[in-house]
Amino acid sequence: MSDTATRSPAQARAAPGRSPRRVRPATLARVALVIVLAVLPLYIDTSLLTIGLFTMAAVVAAIGLTVLVGTAGQLSLAHAFFLAVGGYGYAFLAGESGVAGASTAQGLGLDPLLAAILAVIAAGFAGLLFSPIASRLRGIYLGVASLSLVFIGEFCYENVRSVTGGFNGRAATPFSLFGWEFTDANTLIVAGVPFGRFEKLWELFLVVAVLSYVFAANVLRGRMGRAMRTVRDSEVAAAVMGVDVRRTKAGAFVLSSMYAGLGGVMVALAFGRLTPNYFSLALSIGFLAAIVVGGLGSIGGAAIGAFFVTAGPLLITRYSSSLPFISDSGSGGYDGGKAAALLYGLAVVLVVLFEPGGLAALGKRLAGRRPARALTPAPSTGASP
């Protein structure tokens, strides 16, 4: 094998499958953010901790959706369904039969860690079951077909009572890791602050979210990430280059569903119980809004978007008394949820119209770098048929 070309630093940096040798400022910023987040429970109260837990669950689920919609180009509105599979799956697998009092919900009483892993696999399996439909449909047909999963799901949550507990929902068993429970029972004291259920879950979720982020980033940088992006840009070109288009789409769907399932497990743990109305169409739409606002296909964008869409309404509600124009829920004015929904609805419209790369591209542009225009892959190349 000959190797006569000399390598410039720029080439070395761009080498596929090769990690950059020097630490970039962006990486440093991310590490700093994680450290700040790790010590945050020492300083904030329970309601903010809860908001943080939901947000981290949403970040994980949103990463899954951005891989599917942004990278693989498959519009899906079914994300809420796969979250539910994960959440209810965990509650069912880890729960004990009959302990929930009036509830008719059954359970297998598995170890919570095992139950969580199996719940994520179950969500992936649900994605796999749907993928024969998903991989054959054109984008927009898929969007509508996936909508049906949300409604079929809602039907199941209310009617398959042995698993879901029906309309009133069911409790989720607290998490425990090798016998160490994530409850208030055996409270630790860290730096003078009692570490109860929420603090412990916070640290657990942070680890899960960071690992999810890194895993997805690695996938997108690797062979399957390239395959998914090419399938998005041109299915024919991908197939001719040896990519099994159907399998790649199905793989994207399964991966995305597993992320959703993991997010669902986290929601179950953060909330402590599961109710059908949580996993409605609004949740799916919220996730779609999150990844669009963040910038389709960008994992960091998905995280920012998930924060915006999930923490936004909760923060607005919490601080509603000190914010102008915001009224209490039920008074007919703009309560926190509605105000935030208007904000992110508007953000979606503005992003689609003016900044297809979302907040991620906006951030890069502000930092003086070239934006990645994920929503508009260059005008069609087929000038004449």
Binding site: A5, G17, V240, A372
Partner: protein
Amino acid sequence: MTVAPDVAALVLTDVCVRFAGLKALDNVSFTVEPGSLHAVIGPNGAGKSTAFNVLCGIYTATSGSVRYGDHELTAMRPHKIARLGVARAFQNIALSKGQTVAENLMLGRHALTRAGFVSSGLRLRPATREGRRHGERVREIAAFVGLGDKFAQPAGLLSYGDQKRVEVARALACEPRLLLLDEPVAGMNSDEKVRMAGLITEVRRELGISILLVEHDMGLVMGISDRVTVLDFGKRIADGTPSEVQNDPEVVKAYLGTGEDEADA
């Protein structure tokens, strides 16, 4: 030049393709000998692109057979055909324009590599080693086609001529035994054409693979091909060496058109 031992013949036998009553290919037969440079020419709408699409598995032949070595290609899905070592460069550049040249070329390695979601996601040793090894090879390929200095640039920002070279390089990155080139010099100026022609002959000389070329530029086709098949109205009207084909009256008629007096002949 030597023909690589694993390069097989491509044999089309009586291939027909119909779309809604229209015969896009009508009993077309020809053979691409191992290691040869074979061109398919014909006026617009003659069925050349259709033939390519059948070879790649994008269209399914209505009848007839396409064999590459021991494999029957007609019922095979495109990615399986690609895995046999049949690679294609598209006429209307079908690159991922937002991705770098390197990324586009690495896509060509898809069938040669294994890393899946899990091994990439966890950065397992086999995945990173594979990525490095193949990364080095695509860099060689980029240097070979003259894109070494554009390796890290987004494909969409390159000049038209460079984008066509990325197309060819991406097909080469599949390590093909049969390379399909769909109008590689269309829209190029004469300098770019000369470079591309040089590249094509060099690929054959150094790799010893078969090349099947669809092209409108007669200078290129006649200059570098071993054998030429001429299509018109989906039918094969001539097949032979470049000089045989150039002097074939049927071919002259197909290209220059004929007066009305000859039309009934």
